[in-house]
Symmetry: C2
Subunit: 300 residues, 2 copies
């Protein structure tokens, strides 16, 4: 399974980078291969200063070795060997009318002293963070998520949609990071699902990514915008930074386990503003976005 | 003691705001009075878009009530009543040749069920974060710190200078946030020091702030700078954000105990950049700064 899934995310990285480069039309991803001293490594691909994408990363990694202390605590286990691989992406478009997107698909194995698998699971998801809310875009994105889920189980979409709203909650701001999507973790063997079934589900979601996101980018990338709208985008990106540095388990986990800092923090937006006590005008598009973020909606 | 110290920080807030407004020459601090539902409140003063200061806050607060769960854990105690007051400031100048400064002075009391003080202490410090290193500025700042300390005990400066270097260590970047200054906490009664002695020490440091910082601002505020230097400042401000949101106990404590978000996060810089895998040129002024941050120096 680990080889199969790693092969899958390698191909998916190629596909997604190619798809995004085609949309951008000018900029290409640069690639950095890195090694983890304790075992494994990754292939980081970053795009910057594009025509459409101001900054973004589509990274894969596969790491293994002794389970670090912090992970032992997290999983409530003692010493063990582990393997983990995944694809993580965050894309920050230049135009404030185009939403930021994040996605991640990952697989984890833990071993006993004889190298037998004692635990294995999939995790991941994808979610959208608009700066201006086009309801049809949120609906399109959630429909793509739902379509992928429904092929496997009609309960998946409502479950993982709710988990996404719960996870990407910027608690100190009392608002969601964005309009959500899917979030799932610890997908393990059950009576109903083998690991093969979960593989099929997770890769179905992975395969839905470009179709979920690219049509939105195409529709909005040439819209005109004002300096004030760009400022709003940069202020909202500040909330994205706050979520990733204060609440996001993946980021904090990476920072505290000696991950490759530049690959972890490629998720941070290129230009960001913090303005003291900023509030959008009553009845404005900006205020409309906030009110939706404060109370997550059903989109599909 | 609590009334005396609170009176002191109220006056100090007035003095510092006045001193900084005089340096800026154009912008004035705006004031927001806020109340904490559980008891107490604060007086937040923020300056934005000044001639010299792009963004900054000089805030006081005095809060009391039942010790929140998170604080009980932090101090290793059970239920208790508490009182805490302090002044916190962060100033982000516009010109990259002028360093950012942070300072904080605070006092804490804990009570038994009859309202008797069972524990009390002072904490605080002040530290400097340059974007371009003028060694004489770091020396001036540290001399002001040392002069204030030496009036009370010759061991204070070396001790609290080291604590500052240790505390403001951006561990995931393996570098200091800035060139340091002073940091002290849990200053309690000892054989050598009464609370009155600590009051005299902490207020001595508070009184040294303007003399430690303003001459540096005056010296650098009219220096010319390039767009590239401004970009460097914005990238380095990213590290400031990373420290405050990932490592700073005060910020995280505030975010997790329902503090007033806008008063806590006034510390975040106005314009910030994250550039993937940015490294300054060999032998440049930017690289010189980094090498000093990676290995804290003695300045006084």
């Amino acid at each position: 399974m680990k080889n199969k899934f790693y092969q899958y995310i390698q191909n998916l990285q190629d596909q997604i980078c190619k798809g995004l480069e085609d949309v951008d039309g000018i900029s290409k991803f640069r690639e950095d291969i890195w090694e983890r001293p304790e075992g494994g490594g990754g292939r980081t691909r970053v795009i910057e200063k594009g025509q459409v994408f101001e900054k973004g990363g589509v990274n894969i990694s596969a790491v293994h070795g002794k389970l670090p202390d912090t992970m032992q605590k997290m999983f409530g286990v003692g010493e063990a060997d582990f393997f983990a691989c995944g694809l993580s992406l965050v894309i920050h478009p230049k135009n404030p009318m185009v939403p930021t997107v994040h996605a991640n698909w990952r697989y984890f194995e833990m071993y006993d002293e004889n190298g037998n698998i004692i635990n294995q699971w999939f995790g991941g998801g994808q979610d959208l963070t608009p700066y201006y809310l086009f309801e049809e875009d949120a609906i399109h994105f959630h429909h793509a998520c739902k379509t992928a889920c429904d092929k496997h189980n009609p309960e998946f979409y409502p479950n993982y949609k709710k988990k996404c709203d719960d996870y990407f909650w910027n608690a100190h701001r009392n608002e969601a990071r964005g309009v959500g999507g899917l979030f799932f973790d610890y997908l393990k063997v059950t009576d109903a699902m083998t690991m093969e079934d979960w593989y099929n589900f997770v890769t179905e979601v992975g395969n839905s990514f470009l179709e979920a996101y690219v049509p939105i980018v195409e529709k909005r990338k040439n819209l005109e915008y004002t300096t004030a709208q760009r400022t709003w985008q940069e202020i909202r990106r500040g909330r994205y930074v706050e979520f990733n540095l204060v609440h996001d388990k993946g980021t904090l986990f990476g920072l505290k386990t000696n991950g490759r800092i530049e690959s972890i923090l490629m998720s941070l937006p290129p230009h960001v503003q913090w303005v003291y006590d900023h509030h959008p005008e009553k009845g404005s598009e900006e205020e409309k976005l906030i009110s939706v973020l404060q109370k997550p909606k059903e989109w599909a």
